[in-house]
Protein backbone atom coordinates (compact mmCIF):
# COMPACT_ATOMS: atom_id res chain seq x y z
CA UNK A 1 0.00 0.00 0.00
CA UNK A 2 1.25 3.46 -0.87
CA UNK A 3 1.38 6.21 1.75
CA UNK A 4 -0.89 8.53 -0.30
CA UNK A 5 -3.61 5.89 -0.34
CA UNK A 6 -3.12 5.15 3.36
CA UNK A 7 -3.61 8.82 4.23
CA UNK A 8 -7.10 8.78 2.72
CA UNK A 9 -8.16 6.38 5.47
CA UNK A 10 -6.54 8.08 8.46
CA UNK A 11 -9.65 9.94 9.59
CA UNK A 12 -11.96 6.96 9.24
CA UNK A 13 -9.47 4.89 11.26
CA UNK A 14 -9.55 7.46 14.05
CA UNK A 15 -13.33 8.04 14.04
CA UNK A 16 -14.01 4.31 13.79
CA UNK A 17 -15.98 4.42 10.55
CA UNK A 18 -13.37 2.52 8.53
CA UNK A 19 -14.54 -0.70 6.86
CA UNK A 20 -13.07 -3.89 8.40
CA UNK A 21 -11.29 -4.90 5.18
CA UNK A 22 -9.74 -1.43 4.82
CA UNK A 23 -8.68 -1.47 8.45
CA UNK A 24 -6.74 -4.72 8.00
CA UNK A 25 -4.88 -3.28 4.99
CA UNK A 26 -4.18 0.05 6.68
CA UNK A 27 -2.96 -1.46 9.94
CA UNK A 28 -0.64 -3.76 8.01
CA UNK A 29 0.79 -0.66 6.31
CA UNK A 30 1.19 1.16 9.61
CA UNK A 31 3.24 -1.67 11.08
CA UNK A 32 5.78 -1.30 8.28
CA UNK A 33 5.67 2.48 7.68
CA UNK A 34 6.90 4.42 10.69
CA UNK A 35 6.20 7.76 9.01
CA UNK A 36 2.49 7.02 8.47
CA UNK A 37 2.17 5.49 11.95
CA UNK A 38 3.61 8.69 13.45
CA UNK A 39 1.27 10.78 11.26
CA UNK A 40 -1.77 8.91 12.54
CA UNK A 41 -0.75 9.47 16.16
CA UNK A 42 -0.14 13.18 15.56
CA UNK A 43 -3.44 13.48 13.76
CA UNK A 44 -5.16 11.84 16.69
CA UNK A 45 -3.53 14.28 19.14
CA UNK A 46 -4.60 17.25 17.00
CA UNK A 47 -8.10 15.77 16.71
CA UNK A 48 -8.50 15.68 20.50
CA UNK A 49 -7.13 19.23 20.81
CA UNK A 50 -9.64 20.50 18.24
CA UNK A 51 -12.50 18.72 20.00
CA UNK A 52 -11.45 20.45 23.23
CA UNK A 53 -11.61 24.00 21.83
CA UNK A 54 -13.97 25.88 24.13
CA UNK A 55 -17.33 27.44 23.42
CA UNK A 56 -17.20 31.23 23.75
CA UNK A 57 -19.49 33.70 25.44
CA UNK A 58 -21.17 36.04 22.95
CA UNK A 59 -21.13 39.78 23.58
CA UNK A 60 -23.82 40.79 26.06
CA UNK A 61 -25.19 43.18 23.46
CA UNK A 62 -25.85 40.49 20.84
CA UNK A 63 -29.57 40.05 21.56
CA UNK A 64 -30.17 43.79 21.58
CA UNK A 65 -28.27 44.13 18.29
CA UNK A 66 -30.44 41.42 16.73
CA UNK A 67 -33.67 43.14 17.74
CA UNK A 68 -32.40 46.53 16.57
CA UNK A 69 -31.57 45.10 13.16
CA UNK A 70 -34.91 43.31 12.95
CA UNK A 71 -36.76 46.53 13.73
CA UNK A 72 -34.66 48.50 11.24
CA UNK A 73 -35.29 45.90 8.53
CA UNK A 74 -38.99 45.74 9.47
CA UNK A 75 -39.53 49.47 9.23
CA UNK A 76 -38.00 49.46 5.75
CA UNK A 77 -40.11 46.57 4.56
CA UNK A 78 -43.29 47.42 6.45
CA UNK A 79 -45.05 49.07 3.56
CA UNK A 80 -44.50 46.19 1.19
CA UNK A 81 -44.87 43.35 3.64
CA UNK A 82 -48.07 41.39 4.04
CA UNK A 83 -49.29 41.56 7.61
CA UNK A 84 -47.70 38.63 9.42
CA UNK A 85 -49.99 36.47 11.51
CA UNK A 86 -49.62 37.53 15.08
CA UNK A 87 -50.25 35.45 18.11
CA UNK A 88 -51.33 37.48 21.06
CA UNK A 89 -51.44 35.82 24.44
CA UNK A 90 -53.27 37.89 26.99
CA UNK A 91 -54.57 37.22 30.43
CA UNK A 92 -58.39 37.21 30.79
CA UNK A 93 -58.02 40.14 33.19
CA UNK A 94 -56.14 42.15 30.58
CA UNK A 95 -58.74 41.34 27.93
CA UNK A 96 -61.53 42.39 30.30
CA UNK A 97 -59.83 45.67 31.18
CA UNK A 98 -59.08 46.33 27.53
CA UNK A 99 -62.72 45.67 26.56
CA UNK A 100 -63.94 47.96 29.30
CA UNK A 101 -61.58 50.75 28.21
CA UNK A 102 -62.61 50.32 24.60
CA UNK A 103 -66.30 50.39 25.56
CA UNK A 104 -65.76 53.59 27.51
CA UNK A 105 -64.01 55.13 24.53
CA UNK A 106 -66.94 54.20 22.24
CA UNK A 107 -69.45 55.78 24.60
CA UNK A 108 -67.32 58.92 24.99
CA UNK A 109 -66.78 59.36 21.29
CA UNK A 110 -70.45 58.69 20.51
CA UNK A 111 -71.37 61.36 23.04
CA UNK A 112 -68.87 63.78 21.53
CA UNK A 113 -70.18 63.06 18.06
CA UNK A 114 -73.74 63.67 19.19
CA UNK A 115 -73.06 66.77 21.20
CA UNK A 116 -70.29 68.70 19.53
CA UNK A 117 -69.15 67.23 16.24
CA UNK A 118 -70.67 69.11 13.31
CA UNK A 119 -72.79 66.91 11.07
CA UNK A 120 -70.44 66.56 8.12
CA UNK A 121 -67.62 65.34 10.41
CA UNK A 122 -69.72 62.78 12.31
CA UNK A 123 -69.26 60.08 9.73
CA UNK A 124 -65.55 60.72 9.66
CA UNK A 125 -65.32 60.56 13.45
CA UNK A 126 -67.17 57.25 13.61
CA UNK A 127 -65.40 55.72 10.66
CA UNK A 128 -62.11 56.74 12.24
CA UNK A 129 -63.10 55.00 15.45
CA UNK A 130 -64.44 51.86 13.81
CA UNK A 131 -61.65 51.97 11.27
CA UNK A 132 -59.29 51.58 14.21
CA UNK A 133 -61.32 48.67 15.51
CA UNK A 134 -61.24 47.07 12.08
CA UNK A 135 -57.48 47.57 11.82
CA UNK A 136 -54.73 45.07 12.42
CA UNK A 137 -56.30 43.66 15.59
CA UNK A 138 -59.32 42.30 13.73
CA UNK A 139 -57.03 39.97 11.85
CA UNK A 140 -55.26 38.92 14.99
CA UNK A 141 -56.55 35.69 16.49
CA UNK A 142 -56.27 35.60 20.24
CA UNK A 143 -55.60 32.22 21.77
CA UNK A 144 -54.85 31.91 25.41
CA UNK A 145 -53.75 28.59 26.87
CA UNK A 146 -53.23 28.28 30.61
CA UNK A 147 -52.17 25.25 32.61
CA UNK A 148 -54.23 24.95 35.79
CA UNK A 149 -53.23 22.53 38.54
CA UNK A 150 -56.05 21.47 40.82
CA UNK A 151 -55.75 20.39 44.46
CA UNK A 152 -55.85 16.73 43.36
CA UNK A 153 -52.64 17.37 41.39
CA UNK A 154 -54.39 16.67 38.10
CA UNK A 155 -53.98 19.41 35.52
CA UNK A 156 -56.06 20.88 32.75
CA UNK A 157 -55.23 23.40 30.08
CA UNK A 158 -57.87 26.11 29.77
CA UNK A 159 -58.07 27.42 26.22
CA UNK A 160 -59.72 30.63 25.11
CA UNK A 161 -60.05 31.31 21.40
CA UNK A 162 -61.00 34.54 19.68
CA UNK A 163 -60.82 34.51 15.89
CA UNK A 164 -61.46 37.63 13.89
CA UNK A 165 -61.36 39.08 10.43
CA UNK A 166 -62.50 36.56 7.81
CA UNK A 167 -62.64 33.84 10.44
CA UNK A 168 -65.10 35.74 12.62
CA UNK A 169 -68.02 33.61 11.41
CA UNK A 170 -66.30 30.22 11.61
CA UNK A 171 -68.57 27.77 13.47
CA UNK A 172 -65.89 25.64 15.10
CA UNK A 173 -62.16 25.02 15.45
CA UNK A 174 -60.05 22.15 16.71
CA UNK A 175 -57.76 22.79 19.68
CA UNK A 176 -54.79 20.44 19.90
CA UNK A 177 -52.49 20.03 22.87
CA UNK A 178 -49.03 19.41 21.42
CA UNK A 179 -45.52 18.74 22.61
CA UNK A 180 -42.91 19.00 19.89
CA UNK A 181 -44.60 17.56 16.82
CA UNK A 182 -46.73 15.10 18.82
CA UNK A 183 -50.43 15.74 19.34
CA UNK A 184 -51.35 14.65 22.87
CA UNK A 185 -55.06 15.44 22.75
CA UNK A 186 -57.49 17.34 20.58
CA UNK A 187 -60.96 18.71 21.00
CA UNK A 188 -63.48 20.43 18.76
CA UNK A 189 -64.47 23.84 20.07
CA UNK A 190 -67.80 25.40 18.98
CA UNK A 191 -67.37 29.10 18.21
CA UNK A 192 -69.84 31.94 18.42
CA UNK A 193 -68.78 35.15 16.72
CA UNK A 194 -65.33 33.62 16.50
CA UNK A 195 -65.11 33.02 20.23
CA UNK A 196 -65.06 29.81 22.24
CA UNK A 197 -63.59 28.10 25.27
CA UNK A 198 -62.59 24.59 26.22
CA UNK A 199 -60.45 22.62 28.63
CA UNK A 200 -58.19 19.68 27.87
CA UNK A 201 -56.72 17.34 30.50
CA UNK A 202 -52.95 17.85 30.60
CA UNK A 203 -50.48 14.97 30.82
CA UNK A 204 -47.70 14.98 33.41
CA UNK A 205 -45.20 17.04 31.45
CA UNK A 206 -43.84 20.50 32.16
CA UNK A 207 -45.81 23.39 30.75
CA UNK A 208 -42.65 24.60 28.98
CA UNK A 209 -43.00 21.59 26.67
CA UNK A 210 -46.68 22.14 25.91
CA UNK A 211 -48.28 24.24 23.25
CA UNK A 212 -51.78 24.61 21.93
CA UNK A 213 -52.45 24.62 18.21
CA UNK A 214 -55.83 25.86 17.04
CA UNK A 215 -56.85 24.69 13.57
CA UNK A 216 -59.84 25.91 11.58
CA UNK A 217 -61.04 26.43 8.02
CA UNK A 218 -61.61 29.99 6.89
CA UNK A 219 -64.68 30.85 4.76
CA UNK A 220 -62.65 30.10 1.61
CA UNK A 221 -62.01 26.54 2.81
CA UNK A 222 -58.32 27.13 3.49
CA UNK A 223 -56.95 25.49 6.62
CA UNK A 224 -55.45 27.93 9.06
CA UNK A 225 -53.76 27.42 12.38
CA UNK A 226 -52.06 29.21 15.23
CA UNK A 227 -49.82 27.91 17.95
CA UNK A 228 -49.40 29.35 21.43
CA UNK A 229 -47.20 28.19 24.29
CA UNK A 230 -49.07 27.05 27.40
CA UNK A 231 -48.62 29.28 30.42
CA UNK A 232 -48.95 28.36 34.09
CA UNK A 233 -51.60 30.17 36.03
Amino acid sequence: MKCDRAQEWFSSLIDGSIRPAEKVVLEAHLTTCRSCAADVERLRTMWHALDAMPQLDPPTTLRATVWQRIEAAGSQAAAAAEPAPRFVVRSPRLIWIRSLALGAAVVLLAALATVSVPGKYRTAAFSSLFGHLAGPQRNTPIVEATLVRSAEASSVVDITIALSGQSHDVASAVAELITGSEVLASQEVPLRSGRGQTSIAAPAVGSAELSVRVVWRDPNGAERSFVSPVRIR
Binding site: E8, S17, L62, I70, L210
Partner: protein, 207 residues
Amino acid sequence: MTELAHEDRSRNREGDDDAALIAACQAGSKEAFDRLITKYQRRVYTFAYRLTGNAEDAADVAADTFVRLYTSLGSFRGHSSFVTWLYRVVTNLYLDSRKKKRVRQTQSLDEMVELEESSVQRQYDDDRPSPHEIAEGNERTAALQQAIASLPEYQRVMVVMYHVDGMAYEEIAEALQLPIGTVKSRLNRARLALRHKLEPIREQYGL
Protein backbone atom coordinates in the same frame (compact mmCIF):
# COMPACT_ATOMS: atom_id res chain seq x y z
CA MET B 1 -4.87 1.86 19.11
CA THR B 2 -7.94 3.39 20.71
CA GLU B 3 -10.64 4.67 18.42
CA LEU B 4 -13.03 7.53 19.01
CA ALA B 5 -16.64 6.45 19.43
CA HIS B 6 -18.02 6.58 15.91
CA GLU B 7 -20.60 9.33 15.55
CA ASP B 8 -20.95 9.74 19.31
CA ARG B 9 -21.73 13.36 18.79
CA SER B 10 -24.76 14.20 20.87
CA ARG B 11 -24.39 17.94 21.45
CA ASN B 12 -26.77 18.73 18.61
CA ARG B 13 -29.66 16.53 19.65
CA GLU B 14 -31.27 19.33 21.63
CA GLY B 15 -32.27 20.79 18.27
CA ASP B 16 -34.81 18.01 17.94
CA ASP B 17 -36.78 19.50 20.83
CA ASP B 18 -37.29 22.87 19.20
CA ALA B 19 -40.46 22.18 17.24
CA ALA B 20 -42.84 23.92 19.65
CA LEU B 21 -40.56 26.94 19.99
CA ILE B 22 -40.23 27.26 16.23
CA ALA B 23 -43.98 26.85 15.73
CA ALA B 24 -44.58 29.69 18.18
CA CYS B 25 -42.01 31.84 16.33
CA GLN B 26 -43.69 31.07 13.02
CA ALA B 27 -46.98 32.19 14.52
CA GLY B 28 -45.40 35.55 15.32
CA SER B 29 -44.36 35.23 18.96
CA LYS B 30 -41.47 37.60 19.58
CA GLU B 31 -41.05 36.13 23.03
CA ALA B 32 -40.47 32.69 21.51
CA PHE B 33 -37.94 34.12 19.09
CA ASP B 34 -36.15 35.83 21.96
CA ARG B 35 -35.91 32.45 23.68
CA LEU B 36 -34.51 30.98 20.47
CA ILE B 37 -31.81 33.67 20.40
CA THR B 38 -30.97 33.03 24.04
CA LYS B 39 -30.77 29.29 23.43
CA TYR B 40 -28.54 29.40 20.36
CA GLN B 41 -26.53 32.61 20.63
CA ARG B 42 -23.52 30.93 22.27
CA ARG B 43 -23.26 28.21 19.64
CA VAL B 44 -23.86 30.57 16.75
CA TYR B 45 -21.33 33.08 18.07
CA THR B 46 -18.67 30.43 18.76
CA PHE B 47 -19.16 28.95 15.30
CA ALA B 48 -18.91 32.41 13.73
CA TYR B 49 -15.86 33.26 15.82
CA ARG B 50 -14.00 30.09 14.86
CA LEU B 51 -14.72 30.87 11.21
CA THR B 52 -13.96 34.58 11.18
CA GLY B 53 -11.18 34.56 13.76
CA ASN B 54 -12.18 37.84 15.36
CA ALA B 55 -14.84 39.01 17.81
CA GLU B 56 -16.18 41.92 15.77
CA ASP B 57 -16.88 39.95 12.60
CA ALA B 58 -18.21 37.04 14.63
CA ALA B 59 -20.74 39.27 16.44
CA ASP B 60 -21.77 40.76 13.09
CA VAL B 61 -22.29 37.37 11.43
CA ALA B 62 -24.11 36.02 14.51
CA ALA B 63 -26.49 39.00 14.65
CA ASP B 64 -27.19 38.78 10.90
CA THR B 65 -27.87 35.07 11.31
CA PHE B 66 -30.68 35.69 13.78
CA VAL B 67 -32.12 38.49 11.64
CA ARG B 68 -32.13 36.14 8.63
CA LEU B 69 -33.72 33.49 10.82
CA TYR B 70 -36.46 35.89 11.89
CA THR B 71 -37.35 36.82 8.34
CA SER B 72 -37.16 33.32 6.88
CA LEU B 73 -38.36 31.10 9.71
CA GLY B 74 -41.80 31.14 8.11
CA SER B 75 -40.43 29.10 5.23
CA PHE B 76 -38.83 26.49 7.50
CA ARG B 77 -40.85 23.31 7.04
CA GLY B 78 -38.86 20.93 9.20
CA HIS B 79 -37.60 18.81 6.30
CA SER B 80 -34.13 19.20 7.77
CA SER B 81 -33.36 19.62 11.45
CA PHE B 82 -33.43 23.16 12.76
CA VAL B 83 -29.79 23.02 13.83
CA THR B 84 -28.49 22.03 10.39
CA TRP B 85 -30.67 24.72 8.84
CA LEU B 86 -29.29 27.26 11.34
CA TYR B 87 -25.71 26.30 10.51
CA ARG B 88 -26.43 26.59 6.81
CA VAL B 89 -27.58 30.16 7.42
CA VAL B 90 -24.46 31.05 9.44
CA THR B 91 -22.20 29.46 6.84
CA ASN B 92 -23.82 31.30 3.95
CA LEU B 93 -23.66 34.62 5.78
CA TYR B 94 -20.02 34.01 6.66
CA LEU B 95 -19.16 33.20 3.03
CA ASP B 96 -21.12 36.27 1.88
CA SER B 97 -19.24 38.47 4.34
CA ARG B 98 -15.92 37.10 3.06
CA LYS B 99 -16.92 37.83 -0.51
CA LYS B 100 -17.88 41.39 0.37
CA LYS B 101 -14.62 41.84 2.22
CA ARG B 102 -12.65 40.57 -0.74
CA VAL B 103 -14.40 43.01 -3.05
CA ARG B 104 -13.68 45.87 -0.65
CA GLN B 105 -10.05 44.96 -0.30
CA THR B 106 -9.66 44.43 -4.08
CA GLN B 107 -7.38 41.51 -3.53
CA SER B 108 -5.13 40.18 -6.27
CA LEU B 109 -5.96 37.17 -8.40
CA ASP B 110 -3.22 35.23 -6.64
CA GLU B 111 -4.98 35.62 -3.34
CA MET B 112 -8.33 34.63 -4.85
CA VAL B 113 -6.80 31.28 -5.77
CA GLU B 114 -6.82 30.29 -2.12
CA LEU B 115 -10.54 29.57 -2.46
CA GLU B 116 -9.63 26.45 -4.42
CA GLU B 117 -9.82 23.47 -2.17
CA SER B 118 -6.37 22.19 -3.04
CA SER B 119 -4.67 25.48 -2.35
CA VAL B 120 -3.26 26.31 1.06
CA GLN B 121 -1.24 29.28 -0.11
CA ARG B 122 -2.45 32.05 2.15
CA GLN B 123 -1.16 31.39 5.62
CA TYR B 124 -2.40 32.93 8.86
CA ASP B 125 -4.20 35.82 7.19
CA ASP B 126 -6.51 36.23 10.17
CA ASP B 127 -3.89 35.76 12.83
CA ARG B 128 -4.62 38.73 15.03
CA PRO B 129 -4.44 37.66 18.67
CA SER B 130 -8.01 37.14 19.74
CA PRO B 131 -9.42 38.69 22.90
CA HIS B 132 -10.96 35.36 23.81
CA GLU B 133 -7.70 33.47 23.57
CA ILE B 134 -5.84 36.22 25.39
CA ALA B 135 -8.45 36.11 28.11
CA GLU B 136 -8.24 32.35 28.28
CA GLY B 137 -4.46 32.49 28.35
CA ASN B 138 -4.55 29.43 26.15
CA GLU B 139 -1.81 29.67 23.58
CA ARG B 140 -2.55 26.23 22.20
CA THR B 141 -6.14 27.21 21.42
CA ALA B 142 -4.85 30.40 19.80
CA ALA B 143 -2.44 28.37 17.66
CA LEU B 144 -5.26 26.05 16.58
CA GLN B 145 -7.50 29.02 15.84
CA GLN B 146 -4.82 30.58 13.64
CA ALA B 147 -4.23 27.34 11.78
CA ILE B 148 -7.98 26.90 11.18
CA ALA B 149 -8.17 30.48 9.89
CA SER B 150 -5.53 29.65 7.30
CA LEU B 151 -7.58 26.85 5.76
CA PRO B 152 -9.63 27.44 2.61
CA GLU B 153 -13.15 28.49 3.57
CA TYR B 154 -15.08 25.27 2.97
CA GLN B 155 -12.45 23.21 4.81
CA ARG B 156 -12.59 25.71 7.64
CA VAL B 157 -16.37 25.43 7.85
CA MET B 158 -16.25 21.63 7.98
CA VAL B 159 -13.49 21.47 10.57
CA VAL B 160 -15.33 23.88 12.84
CA MET B 161 -18.67 22.10 12.38
CA TYR B 162 -17.20 18.70 13.20
CA HIS B 163 -14.65 19.45 15.88
CA VAL B 164 -15.73 22.66 17.57
CA ASP B 165 -19.49 22.17 17.44
CA GLY B 166 -19.56 18.40 17.48
CA MET B 167 -21.77 17.93 14.43
CA ALA B 168 -21.98 14.46 12.88
CA TYR B 169 -20.93 13.82 9.28
CA GLU B 170 -24.60 13.40 8.32
CA GLU B 171 -25.50 16.78 9.82
CA ILE B 172 -22.62 18.52 8.03
CA ALA B 173 -23.67 16.87 4.77
CA GLU B 174 -27.23 18.11 5.31
CA ALA B 175 -26.15 21.62 6.31
CA LEU B 176 -23.81 22.02 3.33
CA GLN B 177 -26.00 19.99 0.98
CA LEU B 178 -23.13 17.71 -0.01
CA PRO B 179 -22.91 13.92 -0.24
CA ILE B 180 -21.63 12.41 2.98
CA GLY B 181 -18.71 10.77 1.19
CA THR B 182 -17.59 14.19 -0.05
CA VAL B 183 -17.80 15.60 3.48
CA LYS B 184 -15.69 12.75 4.86
CA SER B 185 -13.00 12.96 2.19
CA ARG B 186 -12.80 16.76 2.35
CA LEU B 187 -12.62 16.69 6.12
CA ASN B 188 -9.81 14.16 5.97
CA ARG B 189 -7.88 16.40 3.60
CA ALA B 190 -8.61 19.42 5.81
CA ARG B 191 -7.25 17.61 8.88
CA LEU B 192 -4.11 16.54 7.03
CA ALA B 193 -3.59 20.12 5.84
CA LEU B 194 -4.16 21.43 9.35
CA ARG B 195 -1.70 18.95 10.82
CA HIS B 196 0.88 19.99 8.23
CA LYS B 197 0.40 23.65 9.20
CA LEU B 198 0.78 22.85 12.87
CA GLU B 199 3.95 20.78 12.41
CA PRO B 200 6.40 23.67 13.08
CA ILE B 201 4.75 24.35 16.45
CA ARG B 202 3.72 20.79 17.31
CA GLU B 203 6.25 20.22 20.08
CA GLN B 204 5.89 23.73 21.50
CA TYR B 205 2.14 23.29 22.10
CA GLY B 206 1.96 19.51 22.53
CA LEU B 207 -0.02 19.01 19.34
